[in-house]
Symmetry: D2
Subunit: 301 residues, 4 copies
């Protein structure tokens, strides 16, 4: 892995391949690609320990939805995008009609590129209290709660610890955890959604690595949704060098200063606004049967 | 009470007095006033059931620090203000050196005058993780954690329920809950801090009344700090009428529309910014022995 | 007028009628009402000096689009709303294909309910530089520039003075000035758009009254678009009293304190976000021929 | 220059030196360094055409105040910092007691690291209207106005064109223009203030290069104050390579993608908040005789 920092399984696989002889086969990892609703969907499956070690990601399924097509902004692209993401989310979540869900917004809301999780839960339809208190209107909705975990530096509590405590009280059947990720390539930043059933390590993207939110630690399935919003500076430098044909280097060669800064698009504020809406709406469509785009807008306003 | 909406004990007492014959004595309630560090401190003590019923506030102590003097902005007023508030907080909290504290920011961060609690915890020194992980530097600090509760409408979870779950996990010895309040008088809005050992009903100020955070529900002492940031429109109308000598009316006479709007200062954004800093710094001074203003600034930056 | 503070001509007319014998006719003022695209449109025309004096508004046309229907949020309501407003704007503006426009956002962006103008210009398609520099793509667009005037307290320059200087340099054919207004009734706040060809006095809603932006001062037609976002507290109190059958009072009876606070909906942050988008999109549709909703979204992102 | 992007004269000089034989002397450029009030001040003077060509910066004086010392956050550091910057600003501005000043905030307020200029003018004491209208209180103050220029993409008007129009109307004697800059080195980002009498090209840091604000274009002296808030990604990569001993490359070797992203500190939101206050307060001290830190706080609140 050469310490290139990435939270995306598609990139971890790519990095392995770059390092390996072209003829070698990556054992324990399966990958395929399909086109759904105009969007390219890549699926990486890590199927055993050998796969885990090769690409440094735990056993499970990693679905990547490429948003490039969305950004071309044809008529109805937002609607098609939410539907594409919702479809993948439903597939990987695979839950019954009566099961309840807690959506968790990870990340530091005071740092723009890390504010994706907190913003996404603002676009999530929260129904738990309504289903319980006004069943005549909301009886047909799934019970959904939404919690912002904060970060260790501002709460003094590990995100996983806080979420575990709340989940033990609220007792959802599934957790959906949303977070900003780090990519190795600028071309993927803000243009890719990764959905996985392996859970997530809070602070992957911007912060420091923390205790994992996953089935083992939470006791219930944890689906993670993430979008890369930054590249770390040293990984970027290493990649720019390779692209420019200057040979291959480890990011660590660039020293500590390269790890202290983040690389992010100029318009990151706008991207976070747009993508948090996209993810929130996709979650709503995936969680509530027969919901239209318009229902979501009405509910949230 | 005539349904005049107030979260301040000093106002509840005032309202009782306005309604009563001047000669009648308010039983079960004691009040006194002193001048500390240039600030007027009013203390109301509800000492028995009779007092509770008279002024509609639970048994306990309510300290009001009048910030009017701060707003005159003489040299050093911010420092004197934090010290005055910190002194009252220490007195009412009365905790041992080793005891840990959880500071809770109540309220909806998306509504400006209700964002006081969430903003205050951003100005709170969070040390729990540091005391545990870097004892060589932080061993002398009190363990402090900080949590934003969100509101029922955006989390689907009662604030008291969420905080109880987290407190049961984190096990602080005391909770300090910070919230925006409603006052009956515009002249008190953003100019008064109430500190009480009776806990708090989240959503008093802006939202709807919810399950109480108090010693009974949390199992540990709950100190509440609040600043009125709004007046409800019907209470205002009733008070304006009385001031103008137009007789006395119940706010309910103004109908439902008077209860749907809030009355707030034009510069509420600036007030919330300033007061959250004042409260946060006061909490820091109260919780950590021998801390200077300057230490706080260094820690938080 | 009894000093009831309103910036809406429909309300000024109402107030006159309330004060007058029901049989008296309001001279110099014409009014009619129609239903367009599901929205109620009220038009008040002040046609002479007598009308000006009666209702305290200058000679000209005042169109009010009632957004109540929008708020019911049926399918497609946003689109129908922008189209209804755009149609009225085009009618009152009545400009040729080649004429250029400067959109001015009035108000103080640091005060939430006064941030309508500044936010609206962020949703306005700015094309002046593109038409000039990339005519191959943008040659068919109208030249549109957009300026935020700031307020006297933060610039030291009267809004009208600053806009006149910029307009003399940029030389638009028409100015569209967008501002937050004050209404007398809570029921109209955030639910009414007033469009007028009489220009506007910056700071009507929240600030203090300043030099007018109008044809006389700017030398070119000034169309003003405004939405009431506040009620002043004293006007509210007077109205609540009347509604409650407590007789009629002048707002001034409530003294100075009633004029220092504003009354605004709890969710004013969300309203400003939504309405600024509505106005911005309506302006875009009115200024560029054959533009679709989707084109606007693509252009702005 | 090898296309390494920097707006700092000290860096331009450095780059020249790195490219040159150590023995060569840089003609037309003088440099010295002093320690004032605990801060290192570097002054670069470009004295003729030869100097201009060597380092790619126009003839004039460039003062750099190193804030590293501030960040150590000793007692009173903020006060010492504002005084150090104010002293340099006064020296380079050199204006008479009666002369008036317009402070211009350049940059796009919607992009966090480019919001330095707009935020700084919010911390500037604006007195022009007060001196004129309330001379009994403000007669002894200098007349100061403050304008936010916006950016071409959101106004359709070149910043220099807009500011020229306003300045011709308001007729200040001097313009102080504040903007975010680009540095080549991460170690200087948010840690250096450059003050120069050569004016500024808006959009140096984040946007695209535009018409210059300088004495030639504005007709009055233009003092520019800037703080680097970003590094461009390709420059960073080139520098990381050199530091790591991988040889010297032109940033252009990294292709277009390296120019589309920005590199910025994780905590850029906090930095912008703090530095805009530092610059605003320094401007206030430099413009008004005998002003104390405390006066500034009182005026702005």
């Amino acid at each position: 892995m050469q310490n290139k920092r990435t939270d995306l399984a598609v990139e971890a696989r790519e990095i392995w391949q770059e390092g390996a002889e072209k003829t070698t086969q990556l054992k324990g990892v399966e990958a395929d690609e399909e086109k759904v609703n105009g969007f390219t969907i890549e699926t990486v499956r890590v199927i055993n320990k050998e796969g885990e070690e090769s690409i440094g990601k735990p056993i499970g399924t990693y679905i990547t939805v490429n948003l490039e097509e969305l950004i071309k902004k044809e008529e109805g692209a937002f609607t098609r995008g939410t539907e594409a993401i919702a479809a993948q989310l439903k597939k990987i979540m695979n839950i019954g009609k009566e099961q309840s869900v807690m959506v968790v917004g990870l990340g530091n809301s005071a740092i723009t590129p890390d504010n994706l999780g907190p913003k996404t839960i603002r676009n999530t339809m929260v129904t738990r209290h309504l289903v319980e208190k006004v069943p005549e209107y909301f009886g047909s909705f799934r019970r959904v709660s939404a919690v912002q975990s904060g970060v260790l530096g501002t709460t003094g509590i590990e995100s996983a610890e806080l979420i575990k405590a709340v989940a033990d009280e609220v007792k959802p059947d599934v957790i959906i955890a949303v977070d900003a990720l780090a990519s190795r390539k600028m071309s993927r930043v803000c243009k890719t959604v990764q959905i996985t059933d392996t859970g997530i390590v809070p602070g992957s993207g911007i912060g420091n690595r923390r205790a994992t939110l996953c089935k083992q630690t939470m006791g219930i399935p944890v689906i993670a949704m993430g979008v890369p919003t930054v590249v770390d500076a040293a990984t970027l430098a290493a990649d720019l060098m390779e692209t420019a044909g200057m040979g291959e280097k480890s990011p660590d060669a660039f020293g500590k200063s390269g790890r202290e800064m983040i690389v992010t698009p100029k318009e990151i504020d706008v991207y976070i606004e747009d993508i948090s809406k996209l993810l929130g709406y996709a979650i709503n469509l995936a969680l509530h049967e027969g919901l239209t785009q318009n229902d979501v807008t009405m509910f949230l306003s």
